[in-house]
């Protein structure tokens, strides 16, 4: 019984360390950032794709790449932004290279879209899969990120 209790404590500690490490990793990419923003894209309207990229670009221009930390989380119909052939792929690449913007893709959406397509969608190489887009947003908010849904 004592052994089980120890194992549970160890597991909790590991989970806690893991989450802390992830949080540190999120923030470590921009250690001097004064603003931390998570942008949500979940809308089927293609104009929203342009809008969310514009917002990211404007934040970078205003604060400077080192002073603002931006992650764009795509889920639901908004995941199309992170399809490999998306017309905005050039803009995405520039935001990554010049502004250090991170892009997260919801695994639940990828799985559901894969069922409709008959194969998993091919994603932009800059997209990082997360277990669930909405969970990722909540985690980032817990870390102090401000959620903006353009």
């Amino acid at each position: 019984m004592k052994s089980l209790k120890n194992w549970l404590m160890l597991a909790l500690l590991a989970l806690s360390l893991g989450l802390s490490a992830q949080a540190m990793a999120d923030k470590a990419s921009k250690p001097f950032a004064e603003k931390r923003v998570v942008l949500q894209i979940s809308d089927p309207n293609p104009f929203k794709q342009t809008l969310v990229l514009n917002v990211a670009n404007n934040l970078l221009k205003h604060y400077g790449p080192d002073k603002v930390d931006i992650e764009i989380v795509a889920f639901g119909p908004g995941l199309r932004l992170l399809f490999a052939d998306n017309a905005n792929k050039g803009r995405i690449q520039r935001l990554v290279e010049n502004g250090g913007v991170r892009f997260s893709a919801c695994s639940n959406t990828i799985r559901n879209m894969g069922k409709k397509l008959g194969h998993p969608p091919v994603l932009n190489p800059n997209a990082v899969k997360v277990s669930a887009g909405v969970v990722r947003i909540l985690d980032l908010v817990d870390q102090g990120y401000v959620l903006i849904k353009p």
């Binding site: 089927p44 293609p46 199309r80 399809f83 052939d85 998306n86 017309a87 905005n88 879209m113």
Partner: protein
């Protein structure tokens, strides 16, 4: 000539395919703007369209004691009066990516409800002008099927709602805007107004469109974009179905130095060449078959505040002789023409000044005149555009026309052809 054309076309095609190794471009020219959607960011169905309302007045004089007129002296499409208001275009369409998760297919549907050469015949309330599906599965070889614009002259291929003038040049109107007479057609003489009946063609104008299949794509190399298209169609314009076993072949190649911007008014310097070839059967005598061949080369420069474009076109066979003389358009005559035009966007204003000069030479060989007779049409147009906003504008233009013919009877009428004033509002939604 035929072998040379094929050889030239193949060279052009090979060049275009060779450039396939370069990076593919996004929508940036008429082929791409009309035939594709932006990957991953196109709506399932985008409703769009435009309205053009106009007034035109013709200052031409009648001829002879009977005060008779010919079509160039009257306002179309009805050709019954010398001045009238008209809603000449009212188009509504839907386009998009029918299954948004898959960017490899897209569609385009457009319906005309205004009154022009498309709808005037048979008093149609509306007519489908475009209905196509594009497959983007093969890199460098997109495939578009259905009814859509033919690769060809700039005036015909471009989106009409961004056309910088109200009326087409004579060479485009007569040589490229094909008419399709129906069985039982008759010719009409010069007539007095009111009560004139000049529209003897029977079917809609071709509207620079045909039903068929097209392979096309655009390739980017630095700031240059090269596009090609090969289309095979019925050769029946908007009538959709075919009336013979002949198929038309359309070839197009363009290359453009892109300066910036996007859409129909993207800035760049484009060079293009095209050819169209097919056969037509005289519906009143189906044993008679005629070649229809058209070629053209042109350039367009746009970098605000200036725009300059020019194009030369040549044709053989099926040379149009007027809407009142369908029987004479089944011929093997030759014709050629050109235009040069320019625009100046007056800085810090919403005004634009346009100037155009076009020339068309038509050789006639119809039964009532001497073989080898020639007619010449020269038109100078000055225009102005006022851009209320990006989607709404006012066009105004005055054309000074100088027509002449070696055939005395025709020339007598042409001497009375004078200027024409037109004003038009365009609203795009």
């Amino acid at each position: 000539m035929k072998n040379m054309t094929i050889k030239t076309s193949l060279t052009a095609l090979t060049l275009a395919m060779g450039l396939g190794a370069a990076q593919q471009a996004s929508a940036a020219n008429w082929l791409m703007l009309q035939g594709t959607e932006p990957a991953g960011s196109a709506p399932r169905a985008k409703l769009w369209g435009f309205v053009q309302a106009q007034y035109q007045k013709d200052f031409s004089d009648s001829f002879g004691a009977g005060e008779v007129y010919i079509p160039p002296k009257l306002i179309g499409p009805n050709l019954e009066t010398q001045d009238q208001f008209n809603v000449n275009r009212a188009r509504i369409g839907v386009r998009g990516s029918n299954f948004p998760l898959d960017s490899k297919t897209n569609y385009f549907v457009l319906i005309e409800m205004g009154r022009n050469g498309i709808t005037n015949h048979g008093d149609a309330f509306a007519k489908v002008t475009d209905a196509s599906v594009t497959f983007n599965h093969i890199p460098g070889a997109r495939v578009r099927v259905g009814l859509f614009k033919n690769p060809g002259p700039e005036e015909g291929l471009q989106a009409i709602h961004v056309f910088d003038y109200i009326n087409f040049t004579t060479v485009t109107n007569q040589l490229m805007l094909e008419r399709y007479p129906v069985t039982g057609y008759t010719n009409a003489p010069a007539q007095s107004i009111p009560g004139a009946d000049f529209n003897k063609i029977g079917n809609s104008v071709g509207a620079f469109r045909d039903t068929g299949i097209q392979v096309f794509d655009t390739f980017k190399s630095g700031s240059w974009e090269t596009a090609y298209a090969v289309k095979i169609g019925n050769g029946s314009g908007l009538e959709i179905t075919d009336n013979d076993n002949n198929k038309d072949v359309y070839l197009y190649l363009s290359t453009e130095k892109v300066y910036g911007g996007k859409g129909g008014r993207r800035e760049g310097w484009k060079f293009f060449a095209w050819s169209q070839s097919g056969k037509r059967i005289d519906p009143n005598n189906t044993a008679n078959e005629y070649d229809r061949k058209r070629y053209g080369v042109g350039t367009k420069y746009l970098k605000k505040p200036f725009r300059i474009s020019a194009e030369y076109m040549k044709g053989k066979g099926m040379i149009f002789q007027g809407p009142h003389r369908p029987g004479h358009m089944f011929n093997d005559l030759e014709a050629s023409g050109w235009y040069v035009e320019g625009g100046w966007y007056i800085p810090k204003t919403k005004l634009e000044i346009d100037l155009r000069y076009d020339s068309y030479t038509r050789e006639e060989n119809h039964p009532t005149s001497v073989a080898g007779d020639e007619s010449r049409y020269k038109t100078a147009t000055i225009g102005m555009q006022y851009h209320f906003n990006k989607k709404t504008r006012l066009n105004m233009e005055y054309s000074n026309r100088n027509y002449e013919s070696d055939t005395t009877a025709v020339n007598n009428q042409y001497e009375g052809v004078k200027g024409r004033f037109a004003i038009q509002v365009t609203a795009i939604f």
